[in-house]
């Protein structure tokens, strides 16, 4: 609370400084000095909060205060969290930050309820969805003596930190990296989400079961999209269908040309469905252009987990399009899991946002990290790694059972089916309507009439 106020007060002050410093030679230097002083002050603050017996800890978020009233000998464990608070994934990252806050509160309450006189503290850093920064953050954690890090988000970032964490024995738990190239045994990388291969299989089953035989796979031209599309193609062929892959470039201002090219291809190939493998921004963009195309409105649409929970998808145009093309998506989800429903409810109550993709995986990553540290009994990377595997064997959280396979990835990932249906405050809402069970998709309800 206090720090938040401080920031609010000091921000305009900095603004004033930068406005008036236009013309003087010394002002450039002064600005550097201000920055350095600010850093020094902040650093002093950091040392103070780190070493003193502080009973109020600010955990990541702006309003969170974990008030702990216990004996002064309480042991404090810091856990590093590197999140994409800026950059490409920042809209998800902001929600994740709140999940982290909630997870640490829950974790602390839980361990203290069990009688442990310890406190876990999140050290949250922004990695800007950039590889180099992810490494910088992990190094910074390591230099602060932190042995367990939650994140980074993308596979590319995990790859960059891998060599460093392996040699410095720091446990990395990524809640959202799904690249199959990271399924490597005996390293310090753990992932609390199933790989893309699993979801691709579910999506292929879903599409085939819905009677679709020839699909165009429209996918992000990045590691996620490419791997997902390859797996989808493989499984869909095994089932007896045909898949044509069209990659599209990411980071474009708009995807209208891509969608039009997709429409041309769908028409010329006579495909009966489009499978879209996208993130939120590009997914929403593509869907809203597709909604204007008669060709694309005349085929079925299936979507990966990326666009799920993006606000832009709940517009009227996309909602209508969804029911017209009977749009169905898959996502990692242990459906009808009371813990997940509880997390969702509390996120809405507390922060006014619904959890986005991978929130439950992130939540469980935090919990697992905490319990693994306690189980290890010593704050040492190798011990924690061993303990983490053991803890995960019996842990059940919002993301379901969290057991790791020999590669350190989530062994059993359940998948749910989602749709966009009328309802909710925005007119349309996301709804989980089915689940995948032993090779078939079972619908709990029919979303589209």
């Amino acid at each position: 609370m206090l720090t938040e106020k401080l920031i609010k007060v000091s921000m305009p002050a900095i603004g004033r400084v930068s406005n008036t410093m236009v013309a003087r030679n010394t002002m450039a230097l002064a600005l550097v000095a201000v920055l350095v002083l600010g850093l020094a002050a902040g650093y002093g603050l950091a040392v103070a909060t780190g070493s003193g017996r502080v009973t109020t800890a600010t955990v990541g978020g702006s309003v969170a205060t974990v008030t702990v009233t216990s004996a002064p000998t309480k042991k404090v464990f810091s856990i590093g969290v590197t999140l994409p608070l800026s950059g490409e994934l920042s809209s998800i990252g902001k929600i994740w930050e709140k999940v982290v806050q909630l997870a640490f509160e829950d974790l602390n309450r839980e361990v203290q309820a069990y009688g442990f006189n310890v406190e876990f503290r999140a050290v949250v850093l922004d990695d800007g969805t950039s590889e180099e920064k992810a490494l910088q953050n992990v190094q910074s954690f390591a230099q602060q003596g932190i042995k367990v890090v939650i994140g980074p988000a993308t596979s590319a970032q995990v790859k960059v930190v891998k060599s460093y964490v392996d040699s410095n024995k720091i446990v990395i738990i990524s809640p959202s990296s799904t690249a199959p190239t990271l399924a490597i045994p005996n390293d310090f990388i753990f992932r609390t989400v199933g790989s893309d291969a699993g979801q691709a299989k579910v999506l292929a089953t879903l599409a085939f079961q819905e009677g679709v035989r020839k699909v165009v796979v429209f996918h992000r031209n990045d590691e996620y999209g490419k791997a997902f599309a390859d797996f989808f193609e493989r499984y869909f062929k095994e089932l007896g269908g045909t898949a044509i892959k069209i990659p599209y470039q990411t980071g474009l201002p708009d995807y209208a040309s891509e969608v039009a090219a997709l429409a041309s291809r769908v028409q010329s190939e006579g495909a009966d469905a489009v499978v879209l493998i996208a993130f939120d921004t590009d997914g929403a963009n593509i869907l809203s252009h597709a909604a204007e195309s008669p060709v694309l409105s005349g085929v079925r649409w299936f979507i990966s987990e990326g666009p799920h929970s993006a606000e832009e998808l709940l517009s009227q145009a996309i909602g209508q399009f969804a029911s017209k093309v009977r749009l169905l998506g898959t996502r990692p989800l242990f459906i009808a899991n009371p813990l997940y429903e509880d997390l969702k409810k509390r996120m809405v109550q507390r922060f006014g946002v619904e959890p986005s993709v991978f929130c439950e995986n992130l939540y469980d990553a935090v919990k697992l990290a905490g319990w693994a540290i306690l189980r290890a009994g010593t704050y040492d990377g190798e011990a924690i790694r061993a303990a983490l595997v053991e803890v995960a064997k019996t842990y059940y959280g919002p993301s379901g059972w969290t057991m790791f396979d020999p590669q350190g990835d989530k062994a059993q990932q359940d998948y749910g089916i989602w749709a966009i249906v009328p309802g909710g405050p925005k007119g349309y809402q996301f709804k989980d309507v089915g689940l995948y069970e032993r090779g078939t998709v079972i619908f709990l309800e029919q979303p589209y009439q």
């Binding site: 470039q249 040309s257 969608v259 921004t281 195309s293 606000e311 832009e312 996309i318």
Partner: protein, 314 residues
């Protein structure tokens, strides 16, 4: 023809956007000789003016958004000129230094907008990092062409016609052209150069911002990166015009729009070239044009600098 009619519509739509974004770039460079990186911000700020009006103030009237955006981005452009470009030019800094300064400005504006979206997100809990298409109340819709096409056509027409009238038919326009052709001479002959330059910046900045507003009715999801991810294409279009000719810039807008829409759709449908090659196509076109038709005159490389009027001809 297997090409979807949407491909054609997109070509026209993109041509409108490229026109509205590139013509001011060419015009401002011609008059002020500043390669303005911060041009990207003008697009983004135009779009985000509309988005903030919609998301924070709840207004979805395009004509209002266009006027506000025109004022906002026009003022930004003038501010850039008064605070940065003019002082630098007065000190005799070479164009490359001014360009690098505009790069600094670009960074500042870009991240200021990010900060603004974060603050807006904090207070409204809406996601401004990626904002869905805005449906405006005051533009005809329903069956037929989309809102963006109507608005795009309108704004492109208004831009072209008003610039033509301004440049060809008014005193101010003649002054602008005089400053562009020979700043020194213009000043000697009593044209208030500072005023003309600032006016140019205002008009150019404003047009780009207004184009940004139209963008929000077109794009499926607008992000604070919209201007940045389009800036290379916009510069490519202006380069086709050699950064001098407004007419050739217009041709460039159509050319690049066609390459990016018809070109990639054809290549994908008939040759299986991945759609993701689209940026590759654009930049190859740029390089090919630069190599085949190097710009002459001030914009040209050393071997072409003095060939303003062509080798022996013209």
């Amino acid at each position: 023809m297997v090409l979807e009619y949407q491909v054609m519509i997109n070509t026209v739509q993109y041509a409108f956007f490229y026109l509205v974004f590139s013509i001011p770039l060419t015009l401002s460079y011609r008059t002020t000789k500043v390669i303005n990186f911060a041009h990207a911000n003008l697009i983004t700020y135009g779009a985000y003016t509309a988005i903030f009006l919609h998301g924070v103030a709840g207004l979805n009237i395009m004509s209002l958004a266009t006027v506000v955006a025109f004022l906002v981005t026009g003022s930004i452009a003038v501010l850039n000129n008064v605070l940065v470009f003019t002082p630098l030019q007065r000190k005799g800094s070479p164009p490359s230094i001014v360009m690098i300064a505009s790069m600094g400005l670009w960074i500042v504006y870009k991240y200021l907008l990010y900060i603004a979206t974060d603050i807006a997100n904090y207070y409204t809990s809406r996601n401004f990092m990626s904002y869905g298409r805005i449906t405006y109340l005051d533009i005809p819709r329903g069956v037929g062409p989309s809102q963006a096409l109507v608005a795009g056509l309108a704004i492109a027409l208004i831009t072209v016609v008003s610039l033509y009238v301004l440049l060809e038919r008014t005193k101010i326009g003649r002054a602008m052209r005089a400053v562009a052709d020979n700043p020194l001479l213009a000043e000697i002959s009593g044209i208030p150069r500072t005023l003309v330059v600032n006016l140019t910046w205002f008009v150019c900045g404003g047009i780009v911002g207004a184009g940004g507003v139209v963008w929000t009715s077109f794009s499926g999801a607008t992000t604070p990166e919209v201007g940045d991810s389009m800036i290379l294409q916009v510069f490519t279009v202006s380069f086709v015009g050699g950064l001098i000719s407004l007419l050739r810039t217009g041709v460039g807008a159509v050319l690049i729009a066609a390459v990016e829409n018809v070109g990639i759709a054809l290549l994908n449908t008939y040759f299986g070239v991945p759609v993701s090659f689209k940026p590759f196509l654009t930049f190859t076109t740029l390089l090919a044009i630069l190599i085949a038709f190097p710009p002459l005159g001030a914009g040209g490389g050393l071997p072409y600098r003095f060939l303003r009027r062509g080798r022996g001809s013209d």
